[in-house]
Symmetry: none
Subunit: 204 residues, 4 copies
DNA sequence: TATGAATGAGGGTTCATTCAT
DNA sequence: CATGAATGAACCCTCATTCAT
């Protein structure tokens, strides 16, 4: 990568980082492009060299940040040598919840903007260069388990939406209960969702 | 109610109705107060006699519209003489889903703004005059069933968040599957949630 | 007219006058709406209460200014009791040329934007309240003369375009000759145009 | 011409052609230098190696395009062996009108920017290499005719301005009449202009 | 000669809010 | 209570121009 390309990447990264910081501290609606460029230390026009508008940079951030999160979670699964499928899922969920609990701003940012549609774009068809394809990882996890599942996509969908929406309220507002109280109920429900999508093991 | 009070109520109602129409047709961000007052046929200043700002009128609408929805659903439960608790819950969910499927704009409006926090304000502490206290109804339903539940609030929370977030994606975008395909999975999960919160019947 | 209406008219007039001054001193392209409102002493938003954009106010000015000009010219015809048709036309043209020669900024403004199309809108269907319908006056002048003309509209068109385009160059740049030198050639041509559209007098 | 020079000429020509296309399709005001270089396939900076700004390239195009037009018209005069002076003028005017009628974009471009001043620069002192000096041709035509004219420059001026301004309206908007209806009136007027500038033939 | 990333002043426009009527 | 003209800060975005490569 030449000096020029490096400089370009630095500018773009600076914009992304600054935008993220502003989005989580003062919200997207209240963050202006003027704010972003001022804090990033670039000229206004430069923003438009890299992004279409505020929502373009937001979408790229969602993709990137959620990819990072799931990537870390999956690495932890590997590092801890979790074997069984349902344990892995619970582990990932628990890991993600703990991360979001530590980083509430990230939770605000992601949950307010996340949805299955964005999630698919973000994780299944990663937009950014280095981003990971989490759905593929998920399918591999299923394959490596000895079980067979019906409608694995719906199963993932149910789990993701349930976790995403309940965490938001519980972590940020302790409503209806704080996250530690919610967890057992949540994991119980997740195990039930997995169980009910599992084809009866065909033993012989 | 005097003639003047009636006139006042008409103006306020006109603003509420107009705002709702605009919110669901062009989104909240793109709806201006000018739009609202122009379509409502009142002067700009009048808006500020009744509401603080755009978000004030939005919150009142969320409360009102979700209250209406659950109220209708509950009446249908009574009319259909559903007896068992879990059947009632499924019936209500199914009723609400069908309503939202028929009225996608309402779904967009509610789901984009709904959360357990707002829901509580809306349904548990109804803001508007005629609005119904759904949480009380829910507790009555539990009481009338012969069962005992642990943490009924968490149970309701889990169900509401699960239904809310999955429906949004499924009804509006058929993602990951269309609502008719999703329903059995959803209801299965809901029954599991209920079952796992049910205290072992204490027979004697 | 109430106090409020009067105030409104003052604001609009102030904008029109200021815009005209700026248009003729620094050109339309280089005049910004910020300039106009700043000099008019009103807020930026006020501009948009009365005009759509810069071109809207320009068109209204063209109509108004050319109406004024022709109105003055025609009044001079009456005051000087010019009788014959061709003399009246020459008188009007001469009057207008002298006015434009005295007020070169007005010439710049009008000629750069005038065309038969705009002229028709401006003079034949006067947009502003008090503006005069010059085309009707022209037809009256024909009627009052004892002559009959074929295609009087084309005749007027030829004269107007000829005068408009030659004056611009001659008055502003003395190109190819100064206006006093041009005049006899021009009036000669105009008389020829009139003569060749005149039906042979039917004497008896 | 060396390879490098050829390359240079290609870049300049590409810019000229692209600019012309954009000027006539979307207007000068709405054409940006970015547009031009993007479509021409050269870098932004390259533009400034050949032209001062947008108006510089516009002026060069006006010169070139009008030179081309009159050159073609004059060649047609020669090819058709038109002998008499006034017939030649009418022929040229007619040829030019027909060309502009076939190529309305060119008419828009030229008429919106043409004036005697620009015309002189363009035709009398041709800017571009290959461009023809039409005024010299005109003077030759006069010389070859056996007639003597007073103020031939004014005569040409009157004709050009008359034709230019009336055609614009007639061809583009059919106002006040379509060009075929206008033509006889126009040519009649032109013949009158010529006749009135002709010195009484000095017979002996 | 040629490039094109970077600039940043300044353009048009919107709109929540006020306040004299 | 009701009005709606007026405000003006703040927004997004463009684009001519430069200059290090």
């Amino acid at each position: 990568m030449g000096k020029l390309d490096l400089n370009k990447k630095q500018k773009k990264d600076s914009l992304l980082n600054t935008a993220f910081d502003l989005f989580i501290t003062q919200g997207i609606n209240k963050t202006t492009i003027s704010d972003i460029v001022k804090n990033a230390g670039v000229a206004k026009g430069t923003f438009y060299l890299y992004f279409k508008d505020k929502y373009d940079i937001r979408n790229k951030l969602i993709s990137h940040k959620s990819s990072q999160l799931f990537s870390k979670a999956h690495n932890a699964v590997l590092a801890n040598k979790i074997e069984k499928f349902d344990d892995s899922i619970i582990f990932i969920v628990d890991y993600v919840i703990d991360e979001l609990n530590k980083n509430k701003s990230l939770l605000t940012f992601l949950s307010k903007n996340l949805s299955w549609g964005v999630f698919k774009k973000a994780l299944i068809n990663p937009a950014l260069d280095s981003d990971v394809n989490f759905y593929e990882i998920y399918l591999n996890m299923i394959e490596n388990s000895k079980c067979v599942f019906i409608e694995p996509e719906i199963m993932l969908f149910l789990i993701l939406e349930l976790v995403g929406s309940t965490c938001y309220s519980s972590i940020l507002y302790n409503e209806p209960v704080e996250i530690s109280v919610l967890k057992p109920h949540l994991y119980d429900t997740i195990r039930n969702i997995i169980k009910s999508h599992q084809k009866p093991e065909d033993e012989s």
